[in-house]
Amino acid sequence: MKAPGTADGAAFAELTLQVSEALARLGAAREVQVGCSLKEAVWSCGKTTLYRYAPLVARSRSRPLLICFALVNRPYVLDLQPERSLVRRLLEAGLDVYLIDWGDPDDADRHIGLEEYIEAHLGGCIRHLRAQRGGERLDLLGVCQGGVLSLCYAALHPDAVANLITLTTPVDFHTPDNLLAKWVRGLDTALLERCGNVPGELLNGLFLALMPLRLTQQKYVRLLTSRPDQRTVEDFVRMEKWIFDSPPQNAAALAQFVRWFYQENRLARDTLAIGNRRVSLQEIRAPLLNLYALEDHIVPASASKALGDYIGSRDYTGCAIATGHIGMYVSRSAGAEVPGRIIPWLAQRS
């Protein structure tokens, strides 16, 4: 691949050369693999699959830890590569880790709403795991939108969850710095639902539009001009693969999520109901660890931090981490800090 432009000035010539080399490395890294830990499908419901990760060491805790990721992205970002894998760190600590993959909804799933996702899919996973263990409660780790679903489930079924962890999870959707909430507040969600499933690319476009120059230009320029080695380039490409590998969103669930949370802020206002049952954060009595990113442009820290004001649990720990939304899952600093917070916190709780 050839870098565009011609080299006249010395600085320009040097930059042209650097960019050409980096582009060649990027081309060579195209087929890089993502996801690293072995896992086995143990249960499924529709397009949703529950996976259990193979242990890396002897299990130190018998209670399973179920990870509930967002519907809008793929969960393998939590297990991107051996050095950048929250899942692997948890496995190395002897935890019995399970993960929900929501799969790719197609047109037949367009009417699946949040109630079905929460009660039948997430709930189905939890019931399956509990049935395997004589009804024992489990630990639940909700990530981003998956954190919202986890909070709803824990509020509806407080007896099912022993310990709850939320990662970059929005709770108050109407804080002043929430740009996404401002943009979608005027959407006609009934019309949106009628239009059918939304391609993942559209949502990606929306997220990129929050900071377009940084996310679609500067990020690449920084890499291209930094004389990256092949390994750095491969790490970068893995992230890019994940960012642009978004599943389609089924119409009903997306419309409900936008209306109930982004537009009407029902969770914070304590007006949410799922399947005619009130969902109140006050009902969550389980110990709760809330990890949020200080530089999060998708879920502002203020939106996550608010959880502490609404939760019913007396054992609440809020923890701010100096990184961005995606950095929370893959950055080197958060890669150590996030499991470093979760593992001892769980160990201190039965």
Partner: protein, 273 residues
């Protein structure tokens, strides 16, 4: 056991090359390639024009309504589909009902109006960004002679541009416009779907509305079935849970196998009355 697969819409080289191309264009605008110090103040207008073009181009990709554009790099934005994407259906206007066509054109007109309003915002953002950048740079700034200096200049430009962008896109009027663009685009899609339904009905093919109605019926039936099965499932769960619990509980060895050294057995003293 499985390991994770990868998505199919990832086309990174185009995005990287496009970013590199824009970077070099910017460097040329800054005079890096010529090696001569530009008249920075005079750069405000071309810099703004360049940024405005980029904003407009980036917003033109709308994969929701434009399947051919799916995965296209550089595109972002909500509901900013080009009006051309909503041309008449390929099967011919004769098949459409009279009332549907004016509504489609009305929506197309509205979409064009909204896109014109959006273009004004891009223009404002681009102008503010360029002014902010030149203002911070100062007129005496020298042309970069090393890659590090050039990159520093680029970083300053991105910072100024993002600040200008954020100042506009957080505003109430911009947010309303974004929502209205999406709603109008969705209304157009809905309108086209209704037109398509009129056509397929003529051929005796099932329509979306009919499939949806069937889906609702199946869902209701499933729900009724689940309700009928619920008491039986609950009983089975309880039995399974207790059996499982029983399995997990360490059992005492069978009576016959237990060692009972009778001679060493001690009894707790009985309480005195």
């Amino acid at each position: 056991m499985q390991t994770t697969g990868t998505g199919t819409s990832f086309r990174p080289e185009e995005a990287y090359a496009a970013a590199a191309e824009r970077f070099f264009d910017l460097m040329k605008t800054f005079g890096v390639s010529a090696g001569t110090t530009p008249d920075w103040k005079a750069l405000t207008a071309p810099l703004a024009a360049q940024f405005e073009r980029w904003l407009q181009m980036s917003q033109s990709a709308a994969p929701w309504f434009h399947p051919a554009a799916q995965g296209a790099p550089g595109g972002f934005g909500l509901g900013a589909a080009p009006a051309a994407a909503f041309g008449p259906l390929p099967l011919g206007p004769a098949a459409l009902q009279g009332g549907q066509v004016p509504r489609t054109f009305e929506l197309l007109g509205r979409l064009a109006q909204l896109q014109a309003q959006l273009a004004k915002h891009w223009s404002e953002i681009a102008g503010t960004a360029a002014q902010r950048f030149i203002g911070r740079l100062g007129t005496a700034a020298a042309v970069p002679t090393t890659p590090q200096q050039a990159l520093k200049l680029y970083e300053l430009w991105v910072k100024c541009a993002e600040e200008a962008y954020a100042a506009t896109v957080h505003r109430e009027d911009f947010s309303r416009l974004q929502a209205e663009l999406t709603n109008t685009s969705a209304a157009l899609l809905d309108e086209q779907r209704q037109q398509a339904e009129t056509l397929v009905r003529g051929f005796g093919l099932p329509t979306r509305s009919e499939v949806d109605a069937l889906h609702r019926q199946v869902k209701e039936l499933r729900q009724q079935l689940a309700e009928l099965q619920a008491p039986r499932a609950a009983r089975a769960d309880t039995t399974e849970a207790s059996t499982q619990a029983e399995r997990n509980t360490p059992r005492k060895p069978p009576r016959a196998a237990r060692k009972r050294p009778a001679a060493k057995r001690t009894r707790a003293p009985r309480p005195r009355r």
